[in-house]
Amino acid sequence: MQSPQHIRPGEKNGATPATNPQGATPNLLLRDFLQERWKGLTPILWGQQLKQERLDELIYLSLMNADHLPLDETVSPLTEFYKTDTTPGGPNALQSDDAAAQAHEEAGHA
């Protein structure tokens, strides 16, 4: 699954070429891959799939420490995302918790 930023003009179906146009390092590509997968997984995470996700965390975070790999100064399409403050309650927080519930309710009453 790809985020809109990954779809480049003129590319068929938004598929990225096999080569790496940004010159991004493997560490950056791994980070972005895990982030895109996380985005796709969260809507269906519960039960056994949530357990499987925790096993992924055990491997990527605890064992490989992939969130502390050196990234140098290279940029990727997700670089801006990582600069965004998504603290719950903050201006860019995920539409979750009360905000989403409220939006849902308001839509229902309209």
Partner: protein, 429 residues
Amino acid sequence: MLDLLVMGAGLSGLSAAYTAAQAGLHVRVVAKGLGSMHWSAGTIDLLGYLPGQEEPVDEPLTALTHLPDAHPYRQLGATRIRSALATFQAMTESAGLDYRAHPQRADGAERNWLLPSPAGAVRPVLLAPAAQVAGDLRRDEPILLVGFEGLRDFFPELIAENLRRQGHTVRTHFLPLELITDRHDANTVQLAHGLEAPTVRHGLGTALRQVVRPGERIGLPAILGVEEHHAEMAELSDATGVPLFEIPTLPPSVPGVRLHKALRAQLLKLGVRVEAGMEVQEFGASGDRLDWVATATSSRPLKHRAAHYLLATGGILGGGFTSDHTGRFWEVALQLPLTVPQDRRAWFRPGFFDPQGQPVFNGGVAVDDAFQPVDGRGRRVYANVWAAGGLLAHADPILERSLEGMAIVTGIAAAHAIVGTEIPVAAHS
């Protein structure tokens, strides 16, 4: 009747069973599976990162005070944690496994080792298997990383590139997999068993001697034997004349298998049975006491009655909790109350690598000072039930890199609470 029934055969359940059996209790361990040791690095991580901080923790026992008040480590305090870890070291030592702490600072503070991960990042670890300590990245000998052609779970080039970018001197060399086995589908545990044959071991020593340069240290995937591990390390050190170290591989983890085998062997010596394939299916309670639990067997459910019960089923990772699409989230064995929000929208943050972690993994079974589960108002749920390990609330052991430390120290602390003794304060070594 049993004195103690432990539910869960991971690091926490086994540490607790060992402590209680040593104190003279009649203990049995029942479990669905065998814990997560086989997937981990085999190190004892006490506290590697504080929530929200990028830099690894250097002195984990000093850094405890920066954890949230409700964290189980804060309930215990540094002195009791220190002595629980000493119990663990004594237990593994008598099982023939050598776990080592980093030399302390002049003022006596314990430090984390900084060991290479299978991706070439730095892992902060409090107690390391002896075979991993020469990999410490505070040392400055250049590293020769040796891999095996076709081994799928160990990537020396990736590790070397990332270590070089962090300022270390590393070169790589590949040996043919045929040195150990003719099979091309062998996993790390099969390779470790293959290396127990004296001729194979000798062949590896000869091959390493031919490529190593004086002054280097050699890093190898963690496949250097299971039963014969220490002898194998000694023999390869002799053959090469340089320090040698293992780097943990992707699962299955040979260092984790060694640890699990050692703990099982110690429990067997104490007469404690560890039964897998026996997940809790039912329980009976009267008033504030748990009377029995019934577990699965190959035939009909089997009832166990005990004076005390310890739940160490490991939370989400261990299968102790489950959940559904409506946001319902529950503890599967005893239906204990959990602190996890019963609303799926409050479970996750948008970033996978969010330094604050995912809220769903911070929830669990809340306990009082004696490690007995409590409800939302702080009242004990059962008078004879205790809880320990990955299922505890107010901690995210994977995010904090405290998975093994949490399992061991809360397991041992809960066992002491059951026996009714203080954790012995170990002589500071």
